[in-house]
């Protein structure tokens, strides 16, 4: 018992200090009143929740969901083949290629996002290049729109899609695929019936890893969206910093947390069901 506590202690402590306490504070703030010049007044109220039921905030939430789903789907379409390719490389090549995948994380996302501005703006490298090649007459509107936001999110979080998928493909025994093809399945059928179902946990993990930070992102819509569209993250940030309305910011944050919690629960439930079916079947 004592050894278990010893082993689990650091993780539990971390969990308590960096998850339980902050989330409890957010919950507590959500039922308090805003102080005129900042901070909170500990008067209990449910007004903050009532204020959140508003078509304006629903519209922002729906836009955020659309952007996050788009980013996740595109990251999956790019990430799965990439992960598959890496997993089939000769063993000595895999580590260097994986290092290349995570290399961008060595630089701050903020700086890499600014780099996209340099590339995409009307006078930027891409437009200048296209014009020099005579491919376009007018510069393309590549920046300060939804396209740029989705691009920035896919770029930023793609490694988080590739890594879990890679590890699930790499763990797959080649014998399973061989057996499938020996039994007469075409490569496509083998992929759909064997490889894909068995790498589903990696896909699910990758999708969650991309979707969750995309939904809460506020730097990317600010910089690449030019502030012309806002996501939930911007809304929450504005409540805390601009309006000094911590209680309302806390309510919006709770809604986001609840939404993400629901998704994680759904993912766990689906995987569990899948696993049971696999065992029963």
């Amino acid at each position: 018992m004592r050894r278990r506590l010893l082993l689990l202690g650091p993780a539990l402590g971390w969990w308590a200090v960096f998850l339980v306490i902050p989330v409890s504070l957010v919950i507590a703030y959500s039922v308090f009143e805003r102080g005129t010049y900042g901070g909170v007044v500990p008067t209990l109220t449910l007004d903050n929740f009532a204020r959140a039921v508003d078509p304006l905030y629903l519209r922002v939430l729906l836009f955020s969901l659309r952007v996050a789903v788009l980013a996740t789907v595109i990251a999956l379409l790019i990430g799965y083949p990439a992960a598959y390719f890496i997993a089939t490389l000769p063993r000595r090549w895999r580590t260097p290629v994986l290092v290349l995948v995570i290399l961008p994380f060595w630089t701050s996302l903020l700086i890499r996002t600014y780099a996209w501005i340099v590339l995409l703006n009307r006078e930027g490298l891409i437009n200048r290049g296209l014009e020099a090649l005579g491919l376009v007459g007018e510069p393309l509107p590549l920046l300060y729109n939804e396209f740029a936001i989705v691009l920035g999110l896919v770029y930023g979080y793609l490694p988080l899609m590739i890594l879990p998928i890679y590890s699930s493909i790499e763990r797959l025994h080649p014998e399973l695929r061989e057996a499938s093809s020996d039994l007469g399945a075409t490569p496509l059928r083998t992929f759909v019936r064997v490889t894909l179902p068995l790498t589903l946990p990696g896909i699910a993990a990758g999708c969650i890893f991309v979707f969750v930070p995309s939904l809460g992102s506020f730097i990317v819509p600010d910089l690449l969206g030019g502030g012309l569209a806002i996501m939930v993250g911007n809304l929450i940030q504005a409540q805390f910093l601009k309006a000094r309305d911590w209680p309302f910011g806390a309510v919006l944050a709770l809604i986001l947390i609840a939404l993400m919690g629901l998704l994680l629960f759904l993912q766990a439930w689906l995987l569990e069901r899948d696993r049971r079916q696999a065992i029963d079947g």
Binding site: G226, A229, Q239
Partner: protein
């Protein structure tokens, strides 16, 4: 929390200066009651790149007071820190006027004793009339200026002079305009174009401004607080809403860039120095502010930031070449006071946040 221990070098300098003061005192038996000698250490929070390179080291050399410069990125950043520490941890904070007002309303700002600021007379008399703190009772302005239009005179076919040039631009400017992203300045052009206050709290008037801004948004390239002047330099934007000093950064790279304050009027912004009540070394804090009020020191702030300082003698020291290159540096206190000083929004802040969300989420 902040150990205010005197560092070795600091202490040596302090001892030396102390000895010097004794000698001077003995020789002169001079003027007025000897003010308390500053010593020890102060913690100052200011934006990055907002102190001239040698300001702190020169001050330390002269007084022996060690200055720890903590950098904040935004007003909101330092306000958040003060919220978390209940207004302690710093001796002096540099914040914009409306945030100084909030600091005072929370009871965290020290009521200033002007007799401890020998150079207070150097401050522009106009700077005593700012609505957020008449008479500068809890804040001393460090820099001040206004907001206007910054444009490429070589690429725009007319001379902009109205906020409507930004809100309802001719076709040549379509998607070649940026506006400031921070709520106070995001609403400023529409409020002024409609003849309302920059500190408007009336919901109907704010809604009117909102509608105007949602329609103006269709023509906007982006909301931009940080890179608008480089967009002008690259030609990506031709007309931008800009703070006077930041327009100067564009002018420095391209003299065809010009600044104008629209005819409908604008704001008056100022960045101020506030001593916190919780400061445990107020003598040194006063000495630091007094040092910055010296014209020769304040002049170096102008050289670095290309902002105006509320210190006529310091402005007079700025070399002719700089003044010629950046015409808006010549604006006097009287001219600046035609602008409306920004005030804290108090209970209207959530309404402003909602209006801004409606504008930025609006189609």
């Amino acid at each position: 929390m902040n150990g205010r221990n005197i560092g070795g070098a600091g202490r040596r300098a302090a001892v030396l200066l102390g000895a010097l003061a004794l000698v001077v005192g003995a020789c002169g038996a001079s003027a007025s009651p000897t003010p308390e000698k500053p010593s020890g250490k102060i913690v100052v929070s200011n934006w990055d790149l907002y102190f001239p390179e040698t300001l702190i080291s020169d001050f330390t050399k002269e007084t022996g007071v060690e200055v720890e410069w903590v950098k904040h990125t935004t007003n909101e950043d330092i306000m958040g820190k003060l919220d978390a520490s209940n207004g302690s941890g710093f001796d002096i904070v540099f914040v914009s006027a409306q945030f100084a007002e909030a600091l005072n309303n929370r009871g965290w700002a020290e009521r200033l004793d002007r007799t401890k600021l020998a150079n207070i007379g150097k401050l522009d008399p106009q700077a005593d009339k700012l609505g957020y703190d008449p008479g500068n009772t809890f804040s001393i302005p460090y820099t001040w200026g206004t907001t206007g239009l910054c444009y490429r005179s070589d690429l725009v076919s007319f001379t902009p002079d109205s906020w409507n040039d930004l809100l309802d631009p001719p076709a040549e400017l379509d998607k070649k305009i940026t506006a400031l992203a921070t709520d106070r300045w995001l609403l400023l052009p529409a409020l002024k174009a409609l003849g309302y206050s920059a500190n408007e709290t009336d919901e109907a008037k704010l809604n009117e401004a909102k509608d105007l801004l949602i329609s103006a948004k269709q023509r906007l390239l982006a909301y931009d607080d940080t890179t608008f002047y480089s967009k002008l330099v690259s030609g990506e934007a031709l007309l931008v809403e800009a703070w006077d000093g930041w327009c100067n950064y564009g002018i420095a790279e391209n003299p065809d860039i010009k600044f104008v304050v629209p005819s409908e009027g604008s704001d008056l912004w100022s960045d101020t120095m506030v001593i916190l009540k919780s400061s445990t070394n107020k003598t040194a804090a006063y000495a630091f502010i007094d040092y910055i009020l010296r014209p020769a020191v304040a002049k170096t702030v102008v050289d670095l930031t290309l902002y105006k300082v509320p210190n006529p003698e310091a402005m007079a020291l700025v070399d002719a070449e700089t003044l010629a290159a950046f015409p808006n540096l010549a604006m006097t206190g009287e001219e600046l006071l035609k602008g409306e000083p920004l005030r804290d929004l108090g209970d209207a802040a959530p309404l402003w946040a909602r209006i801004v969300a409606e504008i930025t989420a609006g189609q």
